[in-house]
Amino acid sequence: MPDATELELTAQELHGADGAAILDTEFHRGRAVLIAHRDHIRPVLEHLHRKGYRFLASLHGVDYYPEEPRLGVLYEMLDMERVDRISVKVRLHTEDPRIVSVVDLFPTANVQEREVYDMFGVVFEGHPDLRRILMPEDYEGHPQRRDFPVGGEPILFTYNEAQNYGQWQ
C-alpha cells in the first residue's frame, strides 16, 4: 500500500495533468483512496496504468445513502511488481448515474461493470454489452441500493404465479 505521502504525491501528479481530476484523497487503515471526478475517470485510470497499476483487481459499487452523491463506483488497482494497491472512487448522483466504461482498458471490467449496472443502476457508457447479469433480464429496480426493500417481493406459489412480474405468456 502506498503511504499517505505517496498518495498525496500521486494525487498531485494527477492534479497537475488536469485541474479538476482529483477531488479528494482518503487514507484509512492503510488503504489509499483517490476520489476522482466522474468526467476524468479514464485519464486517472490511464495514468495509474502507466504508473504500474496494471491489474484491475475489482470493480464494485457502493450506495452511500443517505449521503449525497449517493452512488459510488470503486476501482481496486493493483501493481503486481511493487505489490501495491490503490483505490479510485467516483461518486455519482442517482438522477444521473452515468460513467465512462473502462472495458477497453481493462477487459476484466466487463462482467463487473455489468454487475454494478444490475445492482446499482450505474450506466457505463461505451460498454459493449450492458445488460443485467445476475438478476432476470426483465427485473425492475436495482436491488443493492439501500432504499430497495429486503423481502419486498412476494414468494411465488402456484396461486400467485399469474401476478409474477416475469410471467411469460
Binding site: E26, H28, R29, G30, R31, V33, R54, F55, L56, A57, S58, H60, G61, V62, D63, L74, E76, M80, V83, R85, S87, F106, P107, T108, N110, V111, Q112, E115, M119, R132, I133, L134, M135, P136, P143, Q144, R146, F148, V150
Partner: protein, 412 residues
C-alpha cells in the same frame, strides 16, 4: 504450441464435406449447454456457437443461483453475517470467512493472536486441499475417469471429518471469527491431522500415477485451452489459472496475511498455460498445502485462540457466573453485536481459485453498510471464451473443468 501425435493425425484428416471458414456455404449452429448439465459444475448456461465441431464463440449466462447474499449481509450484525458470507463459494467457506473477518478486523484495528493465525492457516490449507480434491474428482469424471472421483472424495471425507472435529460442522463451519477462531482445536485433533498429512502426499502420488500416465487424460489436456498470461492478466484472472501460464503471482507470498510468511513453501507454476498445466499446478499445490499444515502444526504457538478484546469476542462461558462485566459484554454482543468505526476496507486473500477480495463499508453501526466479495470464479469465467474459441466442443468440457468455476461464488 506443442502438438501431440494424436492432434497431428487429426489435423491431417480432410473434412471437405463439412463447411469451413466464413462463406456462403458456411453455417453456424447455436447450441445451448445447461443450465442443468453435469459438465457445467453447477447451474451455468453456455451459449455456444458452433461450426461443425469447432466452437467459434461462447457466451456464459449466469445468475441462476443468485441469492442476494451481499444484500442479506447488510441486514445482519457483523458476526451474524459470517455464515451467509461462507455460503458464497461453497467449496471455499474458510476463505470467504477469512476475507470477511480480515476486512472487519482491519476496520476495527483488532489484533489476532498468533495461535489463532496458525489455526486459521491450518484450516485454510485443509480447505484448499478439499477444494482441489473436489475439482480433481469432478474434472476427472468429466473427461471419463470415474474412479478418480471416488478416491478424491475419500480423502475429502477425511478432511470434512477433521472440520467436524474442530468446529462441529462439516461444511460452512463458521470456524473463523472476527478476532480469531471459534474454538481451540480439541484433544486428539492434532493426532488425526498428523495421520492425514502423513497419508496425503502418498495419495496425491497415486492420483498422479492414475492420471499422468493415462493417455486419454494427457491427450485431452495437453495443448488445449491455451491462453498466455498477458491475456489472463488483462482479464483479471488470478490463482492456479494464472500460475499455470507461468506467472508466479500468489498473495500468500506477495502480500502475506495471517502469518503466511512464517512458512516455507513453493509456488508451483506451469510453462505453457494449457489444461495440462492447470491440472499439474493444482495437483502440485496439494503437496505444498500439506507442507504448510505440517509446519503450522509443528510451530503452533501457545496462547489464546481469539482476541481478548471483550468488545469484539465473547467472554469465556465460566466468567459469566462470576463477572458482571462479562455478563454485560456477553449481552451486548449477542443482542446488538459490536460496532465498527466508519471506514472502508478491501481485504484480498489467496483462495483455491484466486483472489478473494472482501470489500466492507462500515457506517459506525453494528451492521455492515456494504459487503462485496470479489469472487475469483466470477472474474475467471471471462477467460472461458478465449480458452475455448476455435477448439473442439469436447475440449470445451475439459477446459471448463480445468477452469474450476464455482457457481455459488459466481452468482453469490
Amino acid at each position: 504450441m506443442a502438438s501431440t501425435d494424436y492432434r497431428k493425425r487429426e489435423e491431417s484428416i480432410t473434412i471437405s464435406s463439412e463447411p469451413s471458414g466464413e462463406g456462403e456455404t458456411h453455417e453456424l449452429l447455436t447450441l445451448n449447454i445447461g443450465p442443468h448439465h453435469p459438465a457445467t459444475h453447477g447451474v451455468l448456461r453456455l451459449l455456444a456457437t458452433l461450426e461443425g465441431e469447432i466452437v467459434r464463440d461462447i457466451k456464459p449466462i449466469i445468475g441462476y443461483v443468485h441469492t442476494g447474499i451481499e444484500k442479506t449481509a447488510e441486514d445482519k450484525a457483523y458476526w451474524k453475517a459470517i455464515p451467509v458470507m461462507e455460503r458464497m463459494d461453497y467449496l471455499a467457506y474458510y476463505f470467504n470467512a477469512m476475507a470477511f473477518c480480515g476486512a472487519v478486523e482491519t476496520l476495527l484495528g483488532a489484533e489476532v493472536p498468533p495461535r489463532a493465525q496458525y489455526l486459521r492457516v491450518i484450516h485454510l490449507e485443509l480447505n484448499r486441499i478439499m477444494s482441489h480434491l473436489v475439482w480433481l474428482g469432478t474434472s476427472a469424471l468429466d473427461i471419463g475417469a470415474m474412479s478418480m472421483f471416488w478416491y478424491c472424495f475419500r480423502e475429502r471425507e477425511t478432511i470434512l471429518d477433521l472440520f467436524e472435529y474442530s468446529s462441529g460442522q462439516r461444511m460452512h463451519t463458521r470456524y473463523i471469527q472476527v478476532g480469531g477462531v471459534f474454538a481451540d482445536i480439541p484433544r486428539g485433533f492434532e493426532a488425526k491431522l498428523r495421520r492425514f498429512i502423513a497419508e496425503m502426499p502418498g495419495r496425491a502420488d497415486q492420483y498422479a500415477d492414475l492420471l499422468e500416465k493415462n493417455q486419454i487424460v494427457v491427450q485431452r489436456l495437453r495443448g488445449t485451452g491455451v491462453v498466455d498470461h498477458q491475456t489472463l492478466l488483462e482479464l483479471g484472472v488470478t490463482g492456479p489459472l494464472l500460475r499455470a501460464a507461468g506467472n508466479p503471482w500468489d498473495l500468500r507470498k506477495a502480500h502475506p496475511y495471517s502469518s503466511y510468511d512464517h512458512f516455507d513453501f513453493k509456488i508451483p507454476i506451469g510453462t505453457v498455460g494449457d489444461n495440462y498445466d492447470r491440472f499439474r499446478v493444482r495437483h502440485a499445490e496439494l503437496y505444498e498445502s500439506v507442507k504448510i499444515i505440517e509446519q503450522a502444526l509443528d510451530g503452533l504457538p501457545e496462547g489464546p485462540y481469539i482476541t481478548t478484546d471483550r468488545k469484539v469476542a465473547l467472554p469465556p462461558r465460566h466468567e459469566l457466573a462470576t463477572s458482571m462485566e462479562a455478563l454485560i459484554h456477553h449481552f451486548k454482543l449477542v443482542t446488538e453485536g459490536f460496532r465498527v468505526p466508519p471506514g472502508e476496507c478491501y481485504y484480498p486473500i489467496e483462495g483455491p481459485r484466486g483472489e478473494y477480495g472482501c470489500f466492507v463499508r462500515a457506517d459506525g453501526s453494528a451492521k455492515p453498510a456494504r459487503v462485496h466479495m470479489r469472487d475469483p470464479s466470477f472474474v475467471n469465467l471471462q477467460a472461458l471464451a478465449p480458452m475455448v474459441r476455435d477448439g473442439y466442443i469436447a475440449d470445451l468440457i475439459a477446459t471448463l473443468a480445468m477452469l474450476d468455476p464455482i457457481l455459488g461464488g459466481i452468482d453469490r
